[in-house]
């Protein structure tokens, strides 16, 4: 309880480092979510239309990738981005860009797999109507996403939750550098190992409050049942 009260005091004190860490967390996660959305929506839509054994295999693979452990993604990308790795020349390791890449890899399968399911669950009449009206590819994509919007918005929320709360990729690719790549989760882990549980708790509280605010805002705006 005292740790919780200490946490509240820390938040209310307006510690600039706490807010800087929060800002980095939000920046990295929202950038990754944006990239995953740009790639994942068309990928999921295309997979929903894939037929035959190849389509089933692609669907199984994208669903399996949703369960990739964050630390495994972090490790794989570490080898890719490290100086001796194939993309070492880009000098991205231990930067926010590397963290964004890692979180995009984590979010992309969620966005694509749940978009695939959302599109597949639309009634056949939706596709027939789009076809009979002669809608072009872009228009069909737009109207089908709109039809599946409730499930797709839920997918984006889930993807945001996945990356905003992950630790493995952030710490392995960002390096937890003060003022640069520290995020709420990496600092929670760090402060706990240092024994400063009040600070860890404060950051955890901020993380939960942001997740709650995002979910509440999105639910009240887009996922509310029609009255």
């Amino acid at each position: 309880m005292s740790a919780f009260l200490d946490a509240l005091r820390l938040i209310l004190s307006g510690d600039p480092e706490v807010w800087q860490i929060t800002a980095v967390s939000l920046f990295v996660s929202l950038a990754a979510l944006t990239l995953a959305t740009i790639a994942g929506l068309p990928l999921g839509y295309a997979l929903a239309h894939a037929r035959g054994a190849a389509g089933r295999a692609a669907s199984a693979v994208i669903h399996t990738l949703t369960a990739l452990p964050t630390v495994v993604v972090g490790l794989l990308l570490y080898f890719v981005l490290s100086a001796s790795g194939p993309l070492g020349w880009m000098d991205l390791l231990y930067t926010r860009a590397a963290m964004i890449v890692g979180q995009t890899v984590l979010a992309l399968p969620i966005v694509a797999a749940l978009t695939l399911v959302a599109i597949q669950r639309l009634p056949a009449a939706a596709f027939e109507t789009a076809a009979t009206l002669g809608l072009g590819r872009g228009a069909r994509f737009a109207v089908m996403l709109r039809e599946g919007r409730t499930a797709i918005i839920s997918a984006l929320l889930l993807a945001f939750a996945r990356v905003f709360t992950e630790l493995g990729a952030a710490v392995m690719l960002g390096g937890n550098i003060r003022g640069e790549t520290r995020t709420l989760t990496t600092v929670i882990a760090l402060e706990h190992t240092k024994g400063d549980d009040a600070r860890a708790m404060a950051l955890g509280l901020i993380l939960v409050v942001i997740a709650l605010a995002v979910n509440t805002g999105v639910h009240s705006r887009w996922l509310r049942r029609p009255s």
């Binding site: 009449a125 939706a126 027939e128 109507t129 076809a131 009979t132 009206l133 002669g134 109207v143 709109r146």
Partner: protein, 189 residues
């Protein structure tokens, strides 16, 4: 007048499995054709095949491609995309507002076209689906049981479309007779 749509020894069905054979059809602009038959006789399958939404099981079908300025099909329980009725008709008109307005007016749907589709009755949805199909400027319009849900005003508007739009061939699946229409009954072959 040259034929818009011609079928010869056409057999329709799903996934290569025959549902029903058809009498040969030759459809010209302005024609009114009623496809009749008992429930389950394959009227919807025939219309979807003629609209290019299903491939024929066998036989030949020559007609306009599905889509704007081609063959447009309207479901018996129309599917409207999320948004307003006008949004749907604009989709049919491919963004041509004047065409959308004309189509909405022809079905006398202006008073409810700006409402969210979730607020509409079945009859209002049916009128907007018909307006959306007309807005696509079809050469062949295929309508599956258009009377479903239409109230008296909707039926009047639809009857006027049938009478006035002689530039379009209209093929209807229905149990009812349409004045001046040629009637084909499935299973009569």
């Amino acid at each position: 007048m040259s034929a818009l749509l011609v079928t010869r020894a056409l057999v329709v069905g799903y996934d290569g499995v025959a549902v029903t054979p058809m009498q040969d059809l030759t459809v010209a602009p302005g024609d009114r054709i009623v496809i009749a038959g008992h429930n389950g006789s394959g009227k919807t399958t025939v219309l979807k095949t003629l609209a290019g939404l299903l491939p024929p099981v066998s036989g030949t079908l020559t007609g306009p491609a599905p889509g704007a300025s081609g063959a447009v099909y309207v479901h018996p329980t129309p599917f409207l995309f999320a948004g307003t009725g006008r949004h749907n008709v604009l989709l049919g008109a491919h963004g041509d507002r004047a065409e959308a307005d004309r189509a909405i007016a022809s079905l006398e749907a202006a008073s409810f076209s700006d409402a969210d589709i979730r607020m509409l009755s079945n009859g209002q949805r049916q009128r907007l689906a018909l307006a959306r199909a007309l807005a696509a400027r079809p050469r062949v319009l295929l309508v599956d049981e258009p009377e479903t849900g239409l109230d008296a005003a909707g039926l009047d508007a639809w009857t006027r479309v049938l009478a006035d739009r002689r530039d379009i061939a209209i093929i209807i699946a229905s149990h009812r007779d349409v004045p001046g229409a040629t009637r084909y009954t499935l299973g009569d072959r």
